[in-house]
């Protein structure tokens, strides 16, 4: 497998392999916490912190974790960091803790974190895994901010709690609700596809050629599918 350069490891999470808009991972927190910009920013940073820490630890332990029980091991590591982050937020930013509610604890099962552990940190050295975590975490945060901006400005007429003069009297409440979230999500995916000119997803069928994660996965899931058959 061709080795990616270090810069690309860091930057690919921002747009080219954005976890939310290209890999379509972590949709649940994406839809749930993007009704306000503040909530989305907090959620993004909390996930970023957990992602970087868990990527580093999992990468450090990758030679000791037996392959057959790797998923439970990853989850234990991730859950540990989520608990730390959750307690820190509860202690120092109680308002944010109230806003995020159960979704903070649910970072544990966020598929972006498990996905990066499985696809990247379990196979790469510590430094590169940390960079990957930072890139993907920032990509997640940016994606949440983009969605939350659209939804809060249109749905509530405010930005991070500040009222916007004209829009506050002309709000479209649907945008803050679930259907509005899905609509904004779909439209932003289309926009990202347009910016990357659809180069990321070349084929529509389920194959390595059509999978943006194929570079790290190296055909792992295709083998798994074959074994099942």
């Amino acid at each position: 497998m061709k080795k990616e350069n270090t810069m690309s490891v860091l930057l690919k999470g921002l747009l080219r392999e954005n976890p939310v808009f290209v890999l379509i991972l972590g949709t649940c927190p994406t839809l749930a916490t993007t009704t306000t910009v503040t909530g989305a920013f907090g959620m993004g940073l909390a996930t970023l912190a957990v992602l970087v820490c868990s990527n580093i630890v999992i990468s450090a332990l990758r030679k000791f974790i037996p392959d057959t029980v790797r998923i439970p091991c990853y989850i234990v590591v991730i859950a540990g960091f989520v608990t730390v982050v959750q307690m820190l937020i509860q202690a120092f930013i109680p308002d944010l803790y109230e806003t995020l509610g159960v979704y903070l604890a649910l970072i544990t099962v966020n598929c972006i974190i498990l996905g990066r552990a499985e696809m990247f940190a379990g196979k790469n050295p510590i430094g590169r895994s940390a960079l990957d975590g930072i890139g993907m975490g920032l990509g997640f945060t940016l994606a949440l901010l983009a969605m939350a901006t659209v939804r809060e400005v249109l749905g509530a007429g405010t930005f991070a709690g500040m009222e916007i003069p004209f829009l506050v009297d002309h709000k479209i409440e649907l945008m803050a609700k679930a259907p509005g979230g899905l609509m904004v999500y779909g439209i932003l995916i289309a926009v990202v596809n347009k910016i990357t000119k659809g180069k990321v997803i070349k084929k529509k069928e389920f194959s390595c050629a059509g999978c943006p994660a194929a570079a790290e996965c190296a055909g792992g899931c295709a083998e798994a599918v074959k074994e099942e058959q």
């Binding site: 479209i172 409440e173 649907l174 609700k177 259907p179 509005g180 609509m183 289309a190």
Partner: protein, 309 residues
């Protein structure tokens, strides 16, 4: 060389109908309801209609310009969508909300999916549902001038309380509701025109309204007057005649159309009697639009001389 044999693929016989012609017929058929709406609700109804039509045409023209597609405003379908949506709105709706709803109908529901013929669901009905969820003003009861509004509720909510309404008032449109949906008489005139011009077939309107009537009769334990009041109120007529019969989003075979109409009628009655919203017509049509491809694939006709699957 003149006597060369020309070979082409079927179909060899073409009808004279064009998209523009059909859309023009629909606009003409909607005129009685529009006039009735303006007469009943006053000038504010006219403003709503104007806003929706102008926004619809402007949105489609701008979208085609921006994405550099062939200009399709000339087929009049944007005017039909704008007019239909306007007739589904209360007359006192803030005009910016009407404009946002129209923008949603044209850009999100129609243009993004590839324009007329490629939309999965009917733009006007989807925009109505969108506005129902997005804006509180959609559910407020609005009354025509000169009607005793002290009851303060649309016929559907009056009926839901078990009280009675005057059937003749419902038929002529002297009751609360959206500006184009109240007058069943005006809508029927438009429907008969469309039937006579063979723009629509009878299957969907008859099976839609018929099944809604029969089910209402069942729920009302055989009280025909109450059942009639149920089908004359709300948006059933405008939905069944103008929105459910949209070519793009309804089945192509007669059998499919009957299934479509009955399904929509059943959902309407279920929402009206057992749902949280007072009116179910828009939800019914939207849901049947979504299952429409399945109905079509259930009702494919066997090719003459072809083998059974």
């Amino acid at each position: 060389m003149d006597k060369m044999l020309h070979v082409s693929v079927s179909p060899h016989i073409h009808g004279k109908k064009s998209t523009t012609g059909i859309m023009l017929d629909v606009i003409l058929a909607l005129l009685p309801a529009s006039v009735a709406g303006v007469l009943l609700f006053g000038l504010s109804a006219l403003w709503v209609i104007a806003t929706c039509v102008v926004t619809a045409v402007a949105c489609e023209a701008l979208f085609n310009l921006i994405v550099k597609k062939e200009q399709t405003v000339g087929d009049l379908s944007a005017i039909v969508t704008g007019l239909l949506l306007a007739l589904n709105l209360p007359a006192n709706i803030p005009l910016w909300q009407a404009a946002v709803g129209t923008l949603f109908a044209i850009i999100v529901v129609k243009c993004i999916f590839g324009g007329l013929g490629h939309n999965v669901v009917n733009p006007a009905i989807t925009a109505r549902v969108f506005m129902l969820i997005a804006f509180g003003s959609m559910t407020a009861a609005v009354f025509p001038a000169g009607v005793d509004a002290t009851a303060g509720a649309t016929p559907l909510s009056v009926l839901a309380k078990g009280e009675t309404v005057q059937l003749m008032d419902l038929f002529l449109g002297k009751c609360g509701g959206a500006l184009g949906e109240t007058s069943a008489l005006a809508l029927l005139i438009g429907g008969i025109y469309l039937l006579a011009r063979r723009v629509i077939s009878w299957h969907i309107p008859v099976s839609f309204i018929g099944s809604a009537f029969l089910l209402s009769l069942l729920v009302e334990k055989g009280d025909a007057t109450a059942a009639l009041a149920w089908i004359l109120s709300g948006g059933l007529f405008i939905g069944a005649i103008f929105m459910a019969t949209d070519y793009v989003t309804s089945p192509t075979t007669a059998k499919g159309k009957l299934i479509f109409g009955i399904g929509a009628g059943v959902i309407t009655v279920l929402v009206r009697f057992f749902g949280t919203y007072p009116e179910g017509v828009s939800f019914a049509i939207l849901l049947m639009n979504i299952v429409n491809p399945y109905i079509d694939s259930l009702c494919t006709r066997k090719v003459f001389g072809g083998s059974k699957k």
